[in-house]
Structure formats: structure tokens, C-alpha cells
């Protein structure tokens, strides 16, 4: 069988940007018509209740009850025994890991982390890790960090065990890739609240269930980036190996995996970041304590502690991120050029690392550092008091800052968000449906328009039209703001190395700091609903978009840029006329991933006052009602697909990958 991929002839794209000029005018006309209808018949026709599938929600409730009965019956069937085995195995794995770190003592674990990073990732990364361990001790959160780390470690390993083979398959087969992409999208968009109860019924509570919940969110990046890596292996190298008669397995083991190595390590690193952003939700069904429950409980009883725990999550994320990235860079054989001499020296270094770790564990035991670790840094009480005073300032409505922020918040809602929301919710449903379908048709073509229509119809049928339109109005605002923020920043990051180094840690923080931790202070500053939810969405989605835009612009070949410069183009001209148009694909992928990310925090929005579908999910599931939450999640998913199709434009079929 031929391994060389046969690409279908690519149809040349229309040369100029002319297409959208007149289309945008038409879209404007459609919107204008909608506004007129809204003014005339607002609140006239909602989604007809005859067209609602009312029994869906109850049916789902019954399903959950059935599941629970099955699980508790005296003779559980095989499926449940298997699932039970899995969760017990996972429980054991996580507690084994936690015990291991415990037994190594703080000093030993620190030495393990730092020295391994030092050996494979270099000094800078080693310092990052060292700083992280010191800060855990200084914050007095070592025990919780160990719990969380053990959980994350297990979740990440398993995500990779599951995700990488799937990614390899997706990288080698277009059909598989097409089949799995919507599944991955769904895994990332459907809020965890929606499947928390079924997971608990199937896997009980505990570390096992927490690992599985985390995996649902962290497997997709592993699959996507692995596939991207496999696809990125130079075609001519693959072809050369095929011409030499390599089997599929040989191709994979000797050519594709080694050459995709860097991307594979990037997928490890992204899987870690995604897993860490699930810490809080996983904490809701975990029996052990950890940073997640510190955040959840701290929000009500001790916000300063919640803030500290959030900071610990971020520090963990950033240090692991830096460490894995440095390891990926430094151990790349294509760059390292390992000769026998170097190899010998590396072996010595490895041995020394092992010995030093052993020594540190010994010292740990000798000094009883297992319990005395907190003496390393300052007092956590002192830290908490400091944080609390900062929070007190934020919570005080008589400060100057408050007068500004509350004014901004109030006006944003009163004159921007509220009217827009009313427009979406109150325009007669059939008209809105027709209008949005028409816009999809104009911007993206027939097929996307049909899809948009179908998805909006699904939303109506499951009975979520009102909430979905409410959410849609906010998602659109968030998306537009994300683009306004992220696009120029992405360009700037691509253009300036200094900006890139400054921005990067901020992006990491935004991706991993639990939203509620930074949103609650926001609510004090801008006491008006909707705004915090939109802020959450913008802050969570921007990092991904910034990274994609920056990567796209950086990848524009120097030749093209040079050619433009040779014609005497200024820097701005090069940017506007060469780089940005050429980075169009990456930018469109950015829009698409932006949609996914914005939707991924809809539930968080529900928890900070955005209402809409997010509130429905949180309400339904925390009430233990399976049906309404799943229905609302379905609506979120449908909304996501519809938005993706409307904004897709007439670009080529969607590219893959995360960032």
C-alpha cells in the first residue's frame, strides 16, 4: 500500500479579498432587517412550544436513575464490575503516587524535580522548578500540592496513553481525523458539570473519578497536537522510508515518532496545562483534599486561602510547562547531535542526578524534613493577612478605583450588553433563525448554512431557545472582544521577542488560574452581572488565540518578507499586506479555537452571573437533575457548532491543532 498521501487537487483560492466586501454589505442588511423586526414585534413569537421535545429532559433523568439502580443492584453486571475495577485501580495509583511523594519527603521530592529538570532541561528550567517547590513550602500548601500533583500526574499520564495513539491514528488517516475532531470539540465544550453525576455513579467518588473527569478535558489536546506532529513530519522523509520498504510499524517507530518528538513533547505540556485547569472541578468529586477543594471551600470561608491555592496551581502549571518545554528543546537529537563522547558525559550526569536525589531523600529523613518543611519560607498566616488586606481594599466601595470600575461596568451593561441581549432573546425566534442562517449562507456558503439551521433548530427543539440566545449574545461579545484584544497582541508578540517573553507567563496564568479565584474580586469591583462572565471568557480564550495568531505570523516564510522589503515596503506594510494575509489560516483557526474556549467557560459565566445556558447547567446539575443540565449542554454544543459555521468564512476545511 502506498503511504504517500494523495491530496486532492487544491482549488485555487480567489486572489483578492474582494469577496467579503459586498458580502459584508449584505450581512449588514440582514442585521438591519432583524433589528427592524425586533423593534416591531419584540417578544412576539418565541420558539413554539409545540416544537419542543419536552420529554427529553425527564427521559435523561430517568436514565440517570436507571443507571444508579443498576449500579446499586445486588448483582451488578459486568460493565459495572469493570468500571469499578478501573476506578479502584486509579484510586490506588493516585494514592500510591501521593504516598511516594510523601515518603520521599519535601527535600527528596524537591531534589527529584529540580535535578531531573536540571539534567534534561538545563539550568533555567531547573531554577523554575526549584522556585515552585520553595513557594509551595512557603505558602504552607505542600500537602495539598502533593495531592493535586499526584492526581494530575496520573491524569496526564493516562491522557497521553489514551491520546497519543489516537493522535497517531489521526495523524496518519484523514478519515479518522475527520471522525474524531467533532468528538474532541464536544469533549472540550460540554461542561464537566454535565457529566459529573453520571461519572460519580459509574466510577464513584474519589481520585479515580477525578482523574477521569480531568481526562475528558485533557485528552483532546494530546490527540490534536500529536496528530499535528505526525502530519508535520516532512513528507519526503516518510516517502524515502516507504521507498526503502519500511513497514507501517517501522515507519512509526523509526521515522514518524522520532521526528515528531518536539510536537509530542508539546502535547505533553499542553495536556498538563489543560489538566491543571480542571483541578477545581475534579475537586468536587474527589475524596482527598487538594488545591481544588481549597479553592472551592476557600471562596466562601477564606478567600485569601483560595487565592493562595490558585496561585499554587498556576505556579505548578508554569514550572511544569517550562520544564517540559526545556526538555523538549534540549533533548531533541536532531539538534543535540549526540556523539559517543557526549553520551558518556550524559551518562555520568544521569548517575550523579540519581545519587544526589538519593542523598536528598536521606537528608530529608535525617532532618525530619517531611514534617518540618514549612520552616523553609515565611509564614503562611502573614501571607494570608497580606492577601486579605488587598482583598479588603478591592471589596471597599468607597475607593477611587471602585468609582471608575463600577461606572464602566454599569454603562457597559446598560448601553451595550443589555440591549444586545434583549435583541437576541426578544426578536421572534423564527425570524432570528432565518436571519442567522442567511448570514451563514452569505459568509460561509450553503453547507455551513444548512448546518447552522440544523443546530439552531436543535436548540429550539430541546427547549433552550431563550437561554441560548441570551448566551449567544454574550458569547458573540466575548468573541469580538477576544479578537480585539488577542489579535493585535498576537501580532505584537510575533513581532517582538521582548513582548513575547513578557506576555507568555501572563498567558499561562490566565489559562490555569481557576476563574472563580480572580473573578470574585472582579465582582466587587464591577458589581453588575454579565460583565464578569465576559471577562472570564475573554481572559480564558485570549491566550489560545494570541498563541495561534503569533505562531501563524511567525511562520510566514522569511523569503516572502524579504521580497516585500526589497520593494521598499515599510514594516507596517509588510505586516498588513504580507504577513497577516498569509497567516490567514492560522488566524481563522484562532477564531475557531476562540469559540471553543469561550464556550468552555460558559458554565463559569453561569457561576458569576451571566445567566443563560451556563446557569441552566450549573442549576440543573448541582440540583442533581441530570436532564436539564445535559439538555443545556447540548444547546451549548449546538451553539458552538452554529457559531463555528457562521464564522468559518469560505476558507478551506478546518485545519487541526490547538496552538
Amino acid at each position: 500500500m502506498s503511504v504517500a498521501a494523495e491530496r486532492v487537487a487544491t482549488i485555487p483560492r480567489p486572489a483578492a479579498n474582494q469577496w467579503w466586501r459586498h458580502r459584508l454589505v449584505l450581512v449588514g442588511a440582514v442585521i438591519g432587517a432583524l433589528v427592524i423586526v425586533y423593534q416591531a414585534w419584540s417578544n412576539g413569537y418565541q420558539w413554539p412550544s409545540a416544537l419542543e421535545w419536552k420529554s427529553l429532559s425527564t427521559g435523561l433523568d430517568n436514565f440517570q436513575t436507571w443507571l444508579s439502580d443498576q449500579q446499586s443492584s445486588a448483582h451488578p453486571n459486568v460493565v459495572f464490575s469493570v468500571l469499578n475495577g478501573i476506578s479502584t485501580g486509579l484510586d490506588d495509583l493516585v494514592s500510591w503516587l501521593a504516598t511516594l511523594f510523601h515518603d520521599l519527603t519535601w527535600a527528596g521530592t524537591t531534589a527529584l524535580g529540580v535535578l531531573v529538570t536540571l539534567r534534561f532541561g538545563g539550568v533555567r528550567a531547573g531554577l523554575w522548578v526549584m522556585g515552585a517547590f520553595l513557594s509551595f513550602a512557603a505558602m504552607g500548601l505542600w500537602e495539598d500540592c502533593v495531592q493535586t500533583f499526584a492526581l494530575m500526574f496520573a491524569a496526564v499520564i493516562l491522557s497521553l496513553v489514551v491520546g497519543m495513539p489516537l493522535g497517531v491514528l489521526a495523524g496518519r488517516s484523514d478519515r479518522f481525523q475527520r471522525a474524531i475532531t467533532p468528538v474532541l470539540d464536544a469533549m472540550q465544550i460540554v461542561p464537566a458539570f454535565a457529566y459529573l453525576m453520571p461519572i460519580v455513579i459509574l466510577f464513584s467518588v474519589g481520585p479515580g473519578a477525578a482523574v477521569i473527569t480531568t481526562m475528558i478535558y485533557s485528552v483532546p489536546p494530546a490527540v490534536r497536537i500529536t496528530a499535528l506532529g505526525i502530519r508535520g513530519v516532512p513528507a519526503n522523509t516518510v516517502e524515502a522510508a516507504a521507498a526503502m520498504g519500511a513497514t507501517r510499524l517501522q515507519m512509526l517507530a523509526k521515522v514518524q515518532l522520532p521526528l515528531a518528538r518536539k510536537m509530542l513533547l508539546l502535547s505533553v505540556n499542553q495536556t498538563i496545562l489543560f489538566a491543571l485547569s480542571m483541578v477545581v472541578i475534579a475537586g468536587l468529586i474527589n475524596t482527598g483534599q487538594g488545591l481544588g477543594s481549597l479553592v472551592t471551600n476557600g471562596l466562601n470561608t477564606n478567600p485569601a486561602l483560595a487565592l493562595l491555592a490558585g496561585a499554587a496551581i498556576v505556579i505548578m502549571a508554569i514550572s511544569i510547562d517550562r520544564a517540559t518545554e526545556a526538555m523538549a528543546e534540549r533533548t531533541d537529537p536532531a539538534r543535540m547531535h549526540v556523539t559517543e563522547a557526549i553520551r558518556g558525559r550524559l551518562r555520568v550526569a544521569t548517575a550523579a542526578t540519581g545519587a544526589a536525589i538519593g542523598l536528598a531523600v536521606g537528608i530529608g529523613y535525617a532532618l525530619d524534613a517531611g514534617s518540618a518543611y514549612t520552616n523553609v519560607g515565611g509564614s503562611p498566616d502573614w501571607l494570608q493577612a497580606r492577601l486579605q488586606s488587598a482583598l479588603d481594599y478591592v471589596e471597599n466601595p468607597s475607593t477611587f478605583v471602585f468609582s471608575i470600575t463600577s461606572w464602566i461596568g454599569n454603562h457597559l451593561v446598560e448601553y451595550g450588553l443589555q440591549p444586545l441581549q434583549n435583541f437576541f432573546v426578544e426578536t421572534p425566534a423564527p425570524v432570528m433563525l432565518a436571519g442567522l442562517t442567511l448570514i451563514a449562507l452569505l459568509l460561509s456558503g450553503l453547507r455551513p448554512a444548512v448546518m447552522t439551521f440544523a443546530m439552531l433548530a436543535v436548540i429550539g427543539v430541546v427547549g433552550e431557545w431563550g437561554s441560548a440566545m441570551d448566551t449567544a449574545s454574550q458569547v458573540i461579545v466575548a468573541l469580538v472582544l477576544t479578537m480585539i484584544v488577542a489579535f493585535p497582541l498576537g501580532v505584537w508578540v510575533a513581532e517582538s521577542a521582548r513582548v513575547a517573553t513578557i506576555v507568555r507567563p501572563i498567558l499561562d496564568v490566565l489559562q490555569t488560574l481557576p476563574q472563580l479565584v480572580y473573578l470574585i474580586p472582579f465582582i466587587y469591583l464591577m458589581p453588575v452581572s454579565i460583565v464578569p462572565g465576559i471577562i472570564a471568557a475573554v481572559l480564558y480564550a485570549s491566550p489560545v488565540v494570541i498563541r495561534l495568531v503569533a505562531a501563524g505570523i511567525r511562520e510566514v516564510t522569511p523569503n516572502t518578507v524579504e521580497a516585500a522589503q526589497a520593494f521598499g515596503a515599510t514594516r507596517t506594510q509588510v505586516l498588513l499586506k504580507v504577513k497577516i494575509p498569509l497567516a490567514r489560516d492560522a488566524i481563522m483557526l484562532g477564531v475557531n479555537q476562540g469559540i471553543i474556549m469561550v464556550l468552555a467557560v460558559v458554565v463559569i459565566g453561569g457561576l458569576v452571573g451571566s445567566g443563560g445556558l451556563g446557569y441552566e447547567v450549573a442549576y440543573g446539575l448541582q440540583q442533581g437533575q441530570f436532564g436539564p443540565g445535559v439538555v443545556a449542554s447540548l444547546a451549548i454544543l449546538a451553539l458552538g457548532i452554529a457559531l463555528d459555521r457562521v464564522t468559518r468564512g469560505n476558507r478551506r476545511p478546518r485545519l487541526e491543532g490547538n496552538r
Binding site: T287, H411, Y524, Y619
Partner: protein
């Protein structure tokens, strides 16, 4: 020190240490054995301060008076039923009445047992700040709100007044109530409890009008002076059970007072551990709970220290629990 010892003693010393250690171990073992081994008890702490107070006070007593080892889980309110069914958590000390779960796990599966009230009565209702009540005494009952709704206007409520909804995970039926009572209010949810608190305390500090879903016991009620707006006991349009349509003859409107329940897992309830007896007996008042909760959430005392402080100050109550 060892340097000055003769060679033979150097060998003896570790042996001596070992022997002493073994003896100490045996002594401890017999001490706990005498109290009929309590073993490990797993309590679930929920995300509000009152629950933390319950959990840590009982933990203190279990550990110090009964020699139990106490684990604390922090599982969300609904999944914790399954946790008890699976025997991963032994007890929940404060449940605010989850009808569906109780039907499933207590009545049908019999994997969770209801033990009885924990002594605290829960009040849910519509609250306004005291300064507002002073200004508008007619707000004592819901009728006084009629026609005055717009003073609760906010940016997101448009021309209507704003009703600030509670945490989506809490028991509530405010949307139905507003509709049934025909009030010109817009239900605005600001989400999780921390967010809702942020919202109304901010308005409170500015002495602005605010009407919101709230409950008692709550440690913040000690800091902020709040009054309840009386809702009608019966009113046409209200339903007993929003979800199932309710019995049309029973138009219950106001929230009932909740007797907060203790729940045990079946496994724990039948284990015969001395902890079962104690926890069955354990109950306290709203005031007690609020006091401990305010130590924890208001003064940011560590829960263990707060529990210790309260137990030391209330030896009589504790003694009653243990008899």
C-alpha cells in the same frame, strides 16, 4: 555524646531505643484498644462555613474524646449521596433536603440513612438590609414591595427591579414566586454564593437598596444586619413542588423552615463504631454554629483551632453529646 561512650554501649544504644519504642507502641495500642477501637470516620465538609463548623467541632470531639481518626472529604452536595452509597464517606452532618436524591438513595436503594435533625433550622427567604427596612417599613411583607419594585433597579434589570438570586446549587423557587405574586421584578442570578455575597455586600456598604435570596444560619448575618420580607404562606399560583406541578390545593408560597438532616451511609450506620452513637446524638443550635462559622470565615481562624476554642468554652454541651 556518643563519642564518649565505650564501644559496647554504642551497640546497645540503638537496641535500647528500639525496645523503648516497642514498649511505647504497645502502650498506645492498649490505650486505644481499651476504648473499643473507633477506627476511621470520614466526614464530608461542604462549601459553606456552617458545614465547616459542624465538621470540625465533631472532628475535635471524635479525635480527642473517642480516639477516632477522622478523614474529611470535600465532595459537592449531590455527588456525596453516591459517595455514601459506595461507603467512601460515612456521614454528612447538614443536608438541606435534596428530594430527588433522598428518594433514590434513602427510600429506594437504602444505601443512605437519615439519622435525624442536627438541631439547626434553616431559613430561606427574601432579605433586605435593615437600613432599608427602616426606611420602608412596608417591606415587612411582600405586599409592601408591590409598586415599589423600581427602587431595586440595577443596570441589568432594565425598567424592572432586580431580585438577586441565590447560588444555583441551593434550594430555590424565586422565579416562580415572582411570577406568582405578580411583582415587577427581574430575577438576576449572579451565580455562586461568593459572587452573590460580593454583589449584595457591595450594595450594602453603599447603603443602596437590594432585595435578595438569603438564608440563615449564615455567619455573615452577624456582620450585616438583614431583615426578611414575609412571603405569603399560601397563594394562588405558587406550587408546592415546582417540578412536578404540585397539588393544586396546596399553594405553598413561602419557603418552609428546613430541619437540617444528618445522613449516614448504611455501612457506617451499622458498623457499631462508638462514633455512630456520638454522631447520632450530636446536635447544636443556630447560634452555636454561627459562632464557630464566624471564627472560621470572619476571623480566618483555622477550623481546627476554632473548633477547639468552642469545645473548650462549652464543656457541658459536649458532655451531653457523649453520654
Amino acid at each position: 555524646m556518643t563519642r564518649h561512650l565505650p564501644r559496647r554501649s554504642r551497640l546497645l544504644l540503638p537496641l535500647l531505643v528500639l525496645a523503648l519504642g516497642a514498649a511505647a507502641f504497645a502502650a498506645v495500642g492498649s490505650a486505644t484498644a481499651g476504648a473499643k477501637s473507633c477506627g476511621t470516620v470520614t466526614l464530608n465538609e461542604q462549601a459553606w462555613a456552617g458545614s465547616t463548623a459542624n465538621t470540625y467541632v465533631t472532628k475535635y470531639v471524635l479525635e480527642h474524646n473517642l480516639g477516632c481518626k477522622v478523614n474529611i472529604t470535600q465532595i459537592a452536595e449531590v455527588p456525596v449521596y453516591q459517595a455514601m452509597a459506595d461507603g467512601k464517606t460515612d456521614a454528612v452532618l447538614e443536608d438541606w433536603g435534596h428530594v430527588d436524591q433522598q428518594k433514590q438513595y434513602v427510600t429506594k436503594q437504602k444505601t443512605v440513612v437519615m439519622i435525624g435533625p442536627n438541631g439547626v433550622t434553616g431559613l430561606i427567604g427574601w432579605y433586605i438590609p435593615d437600613y432599608l427596612m427602616k426606611q420602608y417599613p412596608q417591606f415587612k411583607t411582600w405586599k409592601g414591595l408591590k409598586g415599589k419594585e423600581t427602587i431595586f433597579k440595577s443596570p441589568e434589570s432594565g425598567s424592572q427591579g432586580m431580585f438577586l438570586g441565590g447560588d444555583p446549587s441551593y434550594q430555590q423557587k424565586d422565579r416562580t414566586l415572582i411570577k406568582a405574586l405578580g411583582l415587577n421584578l427581574k430575577f438576576v442570578s449572579v451565580g455562586a454564593e461568593a459572587a452573590q455575597v460580593a454583589r449584595w455586600t457591595q450594595l450594602y456598604k453603599q447603603h443602596k437598596p437590594v432585595l435578595f435570596y438569603w438564608y440563615d444560619p449564615q455567619y455573615l448575618n452577624a456582620t450585616y444586619k438583614l431583615d426578611m420580607v414575609q412571603l405569603p404562606k399560601r397563594f394562588k399560583g405558587c406550587r408546592d413542588d415546582e417540578k412536578q406541578g404540585g397539588d393544586p390545593k396546596l399553594y405553598a408560597c413561602a419557603y418552609p423552615t428546613y430541619t437540617l438532616e444528618k445522613l449516614f451511609s448504611k455501612k457506617f450506620a451499622t458498623s457499631g463504631s462508638p462514633a455512630v452513637k456520638f454522631l447520632k446524638k450530636w446536635s447544636w443550635t443556630n447560634a452555636d454554629q454561627s459562632l464557630v462559622a464566624s471564627y472560621i470565615a470572619g476571623d480566618h481562624m483555622s477550623p481546627d483551632k476554632a473548633a477547639e476554642k468552642w469545645v473548650k468554652a462549652n464543656p457541658k454541651v459536649v458532655k451531653k453529646w457523649l453520654t
